[in-house]
Amino acid sequence: MGIFQRFARLPLKPTCIWSLCPQYSTDLTAVGRALIVRSSQLIQHRYVHNRGLGTGPGNPGSAPPRLPFSRVTQEDLAFFRTMLPGRTITDPDLLKSSNVDWLKTVEGNSEVLLRPKTTEEVSQILRYCNERNLAVCPQGGNTGLVGGSVPVFDEIILSTSLMTQVLTFDNISGILTCQAGCVLENLSNYLEERDFIMPLDLGAKGSCHIGGNVSTNAGGLRLLRYGSLRGTVLGLEVVLADGQILNCLATLRKDNTGYDLKQLFIGSEGTLGVITAVSILCPRKPKAVNVAFLGCSSFKQLLETFQCCRGMLGEILSAFEFLDASCMSLLEKHLKLTNPITESPFYIVIETAGSNATHDEEKLHNFLEEVMTSSLVTDGTVATEATKIKALWSLRERVTEALTHEGYTYKYDISLPVEKIYDLVQDMRGHLGDRAKNVVGYGHVGDGNLHLNITSPSKDPALLASIEPYVYEWTSEWKGSISAEHGLGLKKRNYIYYSKPSEAVALMGSIKAMLDPKGILNPYKTLPDNIH
């Protein structure tokens, strides 16, 4: 298809602005904008055929060209309005927040937001969209960090925000079943009243939906203790691309009857099916929770502290997180938080959770005495009361928030052998020099997961070109994962080859083609562009 034909078929409204770039003036005409979009897309298109690797003028994280899905018509809107009266949103002001991701780095152009309440409604929506060849973007709390939760073009947004029912809770087995739109914090509150807790916890808990957590296989702060969702999710109810309802909402701890289909959908980022209900195994609420905040003078000592911690606190350890001195200065500068201990190059947050306060405090005090006398730790403080615990946790949980105040943040979520984690941060600092404003490292060191963040006053393509693919090549060299828990979404889909062999990716493509032949579920995400 020639370039002119493409331009001739352009609608007058812009099809996509994939990044909120300050230099894009709002005075640009619709056609002007479309031209910029188009020309970059053509560069992209050419680029993407290089398997997404290597440097080039375009960026494999940006949007690909729009695939030939149908466009929403008045008849479509009439159908949706009849099925979901009052829950078919077309007002552009209301759509705005659902079209932009939490980081404000990706914006789509959807014109329809649907809010079903039941699995049956989700089924009808997907059956219709499949027949009409309309693309759908499932959306939970919209807190994802890789641009996977917002439309790229005009995909219909399928929101779980009204699917908030808790279905059952068994307080002997601790098994909870609920709809996919339940907010994680609300589930936590519900469970806490019944003396249980959710097996996962993350900074986004006030907004994220459990369905989104499951479809992205969210990790979080408690993974060290309770394991990943792949272990704690017992069953799922999923609606497939053609509207078929797959009810595998078992509440059994053990069930070895056939292939474990739910594992396909966990972490599939909405590309294989829309999760409508979840059954999850919840642990008992610990009677005693303590948090220690420690300072270490080197990463090596931090790792030795971790060894000691595992040995002396083993069974009560529920979290082991770290942040570096740069993170602390950002927290102090942007959020006015105070450092509770003396300044150190590294800080550790350790949480213990157990059934007996006196036992736990004794174990914790023995551990602290050991690490203090052996000088593995230079200073620290302990909290046993809820308010102080919250205050200490906020020093780790709010780093992401503090970074947003720096301007633009390039975020990398990497899994590496634990000894290598901080080497990457120091290497990046040396490699980028003055080009970056700040290079910080923090994260779930206990799980071997680093959150590497590089800030700059505004979006800087030259800086990006120095970071990528250097960071991915570095990770690949140490057989790490280029996305430990954030997923691939839109931004990282083309980098999958750094962490997975091509045969594996090809098989993923086959599974996608089998479950969603028309490719309407969350297109442009998770799988690389060249898979088609």
Partner: protein, 254 residues
């Protein structure tokens, strides 16, 4: 002047905990519930420790009245920098009915025994909100008082206290010995750091009974009933402006 400061610390239910009324309505559930030092008492301890760091006073003594568990609260004060502690043992029924009048009698007796120059207390406890102990203690000792302090400056034997009052701020000068009660903005309490927590384990906590101080802890007050506040009515969401107008009319608001 002995250079000794007495700081009262009270063990209360942690302020982040959801309070539940006992089914028999005689009080609130305290069993198995997280307790911690009253936030205003923390501020009082911090102020005392600051004065010691500035070398304006010599010794900080932390005092708490109650059963065995209050020793944790005294240890926290020691970890923040207090030099020694005094645990006034009150338990059982006596502890349930222990109120500002009895505590102020105890503190007055201790102040005389320890020859304290200054008593710093929190302005009120977050469980009963009485705001009486400081004032009663000063009255019993016939000492001047600087309550709701947001700033305290020590100069030889005089204290300049900036008080938070309804109209704004009031600055007074009082002679020592005196009683000061701490308000929120007096300071930000420090975190007890590990080296100090370790040191605190070795500091002494003396045990004393109210009878030893000649104080009768029986109460003249009887709690008749404890109830929860009335439930807040849920709001109602409406779909359109017309619905809103309709509902307001129904409620007789317009």
């Amino acid at each position: 002047m002995s250079g000794r400061v007495l700081v009262g610390v009270k063990r209360v239910i942690d302020y982040a905990v959801k309070i539940r009324v006992k089914p028999d309505h005689t009080g609130v559930v305290t069993d198995g519930v997280k307790h911690s030092m009253n936030p205003f008492c923390e501020i009082a301890v911090e102020e005392a420790v600051k004065l010691k760091e500035k070398k304006l006073i010599k010794e900080v003594v932390a005092v708490s009245c109650g059963p065995q568990q209050v020793q944790e609260t005294i240890r926290t004060a020691l970890a923040m920098g207090a030099d020694r502690g005094i645990h006034v043992e009150v338990s059982g029924k006596d502890y349930e009915t222990l109120g500002p009048l009895q505590v102020s009698k105890i503190l007055a007796a201790l102040a005389k025994k320890e020859q304290a120059d200054l008593i710093i207390l929190g302005k009120q406890a977050i469980d009963d909100d009485c705001n009486q102990t400081g004032q009663m203690t000063a009255a019993l000792l016939d000492w001047p008082q600087g309550t709701f302090a947001s700033e305290v400056t020590l100069d030889a034997d005089k204290l300049k206290v900036v008080r938070e009052i309804d109209g704004g701020l009031e600055t007074i000068k009082i002679k020592m010995p005196a009683v000061v009660t701490a308000d929120l903005r007096l300071n930000t309490p420090r975190y007890a750091t590990l080296p100090n927590i370790m040191k605190a384990k070795k500091k002494k906590i003396a045990n004393v009974k109210p009878a030893d101080l000649g104080v009768d802890v029986s109460s003249r007050l009887e709690v008749l009933k404890v109830d929860e506040p009335p439930q807040r009515q849920a709001g109602v969401k409406v779909e359109t402006v017309d619905d809103l107008v309709g509902k307001l009319k129904e409620a007789g608001r317009i």
